[in-house]
């Protein structure tokens, strides 16, 4: 793609529906198939998953998308038990909506009811963002930065990153919140004027990810500041983060309910 091609085409920005798709060559998010959850498959999935996303308790088999590292091995080894969701519209306002739960007796998904909406005070035409990394390896930060590249161009949707929390409407937090960073995160949140929203970007920001259980981390942003939107992924692709921001300002709806796209 050369500069002349750019001048002819006029712009590089991709359409929103293109950004929200999982690329053809990549694995999306896993989806349980209730009919295929045989005892052998369930036990195999629990042992196979490196992120320990599968669990079984009291007749309910669950898959936590906030622990999924996106390797896709479950769908490869047990295709009859695990399928795939090929959309990046995976941001949620309620943390429980990231967990798929299958009632093994009735053979279907549990239904928790409709998700809550983000606060109407955040329905702003433009959104100034501030980003805080609280123990992230740097990759989720990189994905937030790539939202501003010529292909994603979040500026056309009214989102831009500001330099100061005092001018910010929303706070993007990445990482499992290391203990040493918790105070700085709290102070950054307090420095923001109302109304203010918080988006937890990435599995580690949601519940600690692979660092859950480490004594050096607090395992989730919602233990320090209230969170409005959770974006799963390891790290989430720019399209998923964009969906999270659109969900925050009320321009898109939440599609993931109880871990399943509706």
């Amino acid at each position: 793609m050369s500069l002349m091609h750019t001048l002819k085409v006029g712009r590089l920005a991709r359409k929103l529906e293109e950004i929200l798709k999982v690329p053809q060559h990549a694995f999306g998010y896993p989806l349980l198939k209730p009919a295929g959850l045989t005892p052998r498959a369930r036990e195999g999935l629990i042992h196979l998953c490196p992120g320990e996303a599968f669990a079984e308790a009291e007749g309910i088999f669950s898959l936590d998308l906030a622990r999924c590292v996106g390797c896709g091995r479950c769908a490869l080894v047990y295709p009859e038990a695990v399928g795939e969701m090929r959309s990046l519209e995976v941001a949620v306002t309620r943390k429980e909506d990231l967990v798929q739960r299958v009632d093994l007796k009735r053979g279907g998904f549990l239904d928790p009811g409709p998700p809550p909406f983000p606060r109407t005070a955040l329905r702003l035409p433009t959104l100034a963002l501030r980003e805080v990394s609280a123990g992230d390896t740097g990759l989720a930060d990189s994905e937030v930065a790539l939202l501003g590249n010529p292909f994603n161009d979040m500026g056309r949707f009214g989102f831009q990153v500001g330099a100061s929390p005092r001018h910010a409407d929303a706070l993007l937090v990445t990482g499992p919140v290391s203990r040493n960073m918790a105070e700085a995160l709290r102070r950054t949140y307090e420095a923001m004027p109302e109304p203010k929203g918080v988006v937890a970007v990435g599995n580690e920001a949601i519940s600690g990810g692979v660092f859950a259980g480490s004594p050096q981390v607090l395992s989730g942003v919602d233990r320090v500041v209230p969170v409005d939107v959770y974006v799963p992924g390891d790290p989430p692709r720019p399209g998923a983060i964009l969906h999270g921001l659109m969900l925050l300002v009320g321009r898109m709806t939440q599609r993931l309910v109880e871990g399943v796209l509706r």
Partner: protein, 443 residues
């Protein structure tokens, strides 16, 4: 002890970490044959958690000894112990009574990881910079022992912002500890992913530099090609940053990157990068800023492009027999422009080697299971920022002990040196020219 001092005078420390109640020091000495494993020497020092400090004479060991002190060891005779990662220990900043102190961080204005910088300035000129890290400390190293290969790799890939390099070093160290080697097809695929990761990372450094000097054209063009290159890394590995691609014994999958597209990006960069770096605006802002001298790079043990931009021609790929005709990219200036030139030339070289590995894939399986057993080994891999070091002892398929060093850990001192004497507004430019990983230092 005299042998240790002699080795450190000739060479450079690679790693210093606990070994039971003693400490193990790895030193790299110059010379040796291509492909030889004898480039490093090991010394076992101290006893009962006490060891003699060498930091006064060899400042490259200073941060290593401070990290060991935080973990309960005592470096006898250390000139000035301060915490590195732990914030529960008291920390005293160095003070200059007549100078103005400018604290910055831990939360910065851009999209970047947190760290604290304390400047002592005279007017607008920086007299001293003291860096306090630890905000990204997650206790990663202490989580690894007791885990199997797959669970350990999950953590190792989060030891820095270059997951392929860390995973490659960890997989190879596990295989070498068991006296085994992965299939050659997997070796080629690993190196292809490593080179794509290097090219992607270097272009991020360059785009950040151009953004910092307000050169929007360069930043946009490199940002565009960088995003396209990331797409090819995604196609090869299944992840935008190469995670979940490597495993002990080989690689998990083999994607289908578009080789013609990579060649086209390489050609476009070959035309674009020299032009960008000759722009008078770029030269005016980058030349003679943030200098690091060769003697400083050698004394403090800098690695990677930081060292090569200061005239230290050391690259671990020289010793890798799978890289044909490899020569490091070296500059002598040591300033921001030299580092930018090293990034630019290494990007083109990395894409050349990525294409070589992908076009000459040998036949064979993607992965095999290594034999059971026990052992220990140390492996180094040249990541985009410098050498990644992993030392692992395995037994019955589990990690007994694991120690890793990210290249950023060795290069933070370069930033402190680079900004001395510079104007305070030039600090972001100097910082971006190193573009170090905070999480990689705060393991």
């Amino acid at each position: 002890m005299e042998k240790v001092r002699e080795a450190l005078r000739e060479g450079r420390p690679v790693a210093l970490f606990p070994y039971g109640d003693r400490v193990l020091l790895w030193v790299e000495r110059p010379g040796g044959q291509k492909g030889a494993l004898g480039l490093t020497e090991t010394f076992l020092l101290g006893e009962r958690r006490r060891f003699p400090s060498l930091a006064a004479e060899f400042p490259a060991l200073d941060w290593f000894e401070r990290a060991l002190w935080e973990r309960g060891f005592e470096p006898v005779g250390h000139p000035g112990l301060k915490p590195l990662r732990r914030h529960d220990l008291p920390y005293t900043f160095r003070e200059f009574p007549l100078l103005h102190e400018v604290p910055v961080g831990p939360v910065h204005a851009g999209i970047i990881e947190p760290g604290h910088f304390r400047f002592s300035v005279l007017g607008e000129r920086i007299v001293n910079l003291e860096i306090r890290l630890g905000y990204q400390h997650r206790g990663l190293l202490s989580l690894i022992p007791g885990k199997g290969a797959e669970a350990a790799l999950l953590l190792v890939e989060r030891a820095g912002s270059e997951p392929v390099a860390h995973a490659m070093a960890f997989a190879e160290v596990w295989e070498r500890a068991l006296g085994w080697e992965a299939p050659s097809r997997a070796q080629y695929l690993r190196r292809a992913a490593l080179e794509l990761e290097r090219a992607f990372g270097h272009m991020g450094h360059l785009a950040g530099l151009f953004t910092d000097i307000g050169y929007a054209y360069g930043a946009t063009q490199l940002g565009r090609i960088r995003a396209l290159l990331q797409g090819e890394l995604d196609r090869l590995t299944g992840h935008r940053y190469g995670r979940n691609f490597l495993r002990v014994g080989g690689v998990w999958r083999e994607g289908q990157p578009d080789l013609e597209a990579i060649a086209a990006y390489r050609e476009e960069l070959a035309r674009l990068l020299p032009r960008l770096l000759k722009n008078p605006q770029v030269l005016d802002r980058m030349r003679y800023v943030g200098g690091v001298r060769r003697a400083e790079a050698l004394a403090l043990g800098f690695v990677g492009p930081t060292a090569r931009a200061s005239g230290v021609g050391r690259d671990l790929r020289q010793d890798d027999p799978l890289y044909p005709d490899f020569t490091p990219v070296v500059r002598q200036g040591g300033d921001v422009l030299s580092r930018a030139q090293v990034y630019a030339e290494e990007t083109l070289k990395a894409l050349d080697y990525a294409l070589f590995f992908l076009r000459h894939l040998p036949a064979g399986p993607l992965a095999l299971d290594p034999p059971p057993g026990e052992g220990e080994a140390l492996v180094r891999v040249e990541a985009g920022r410098g050498e990644v070091v992993w030392f692992v002892r395995v037994q019955a398929g589990k990690v007994v002990m694991a120690e890793g060093v990210d290249p950023s850990f060795k290069n933070w001192r370069a930033l402190e040196l680079a900004v001395r004497g510079e104007g305070l507004p030039d600090f972001p430019l100097c910082n971006k020219s190193f573009d170090l990983s905070y999480a990689g230092s705060d393991l």
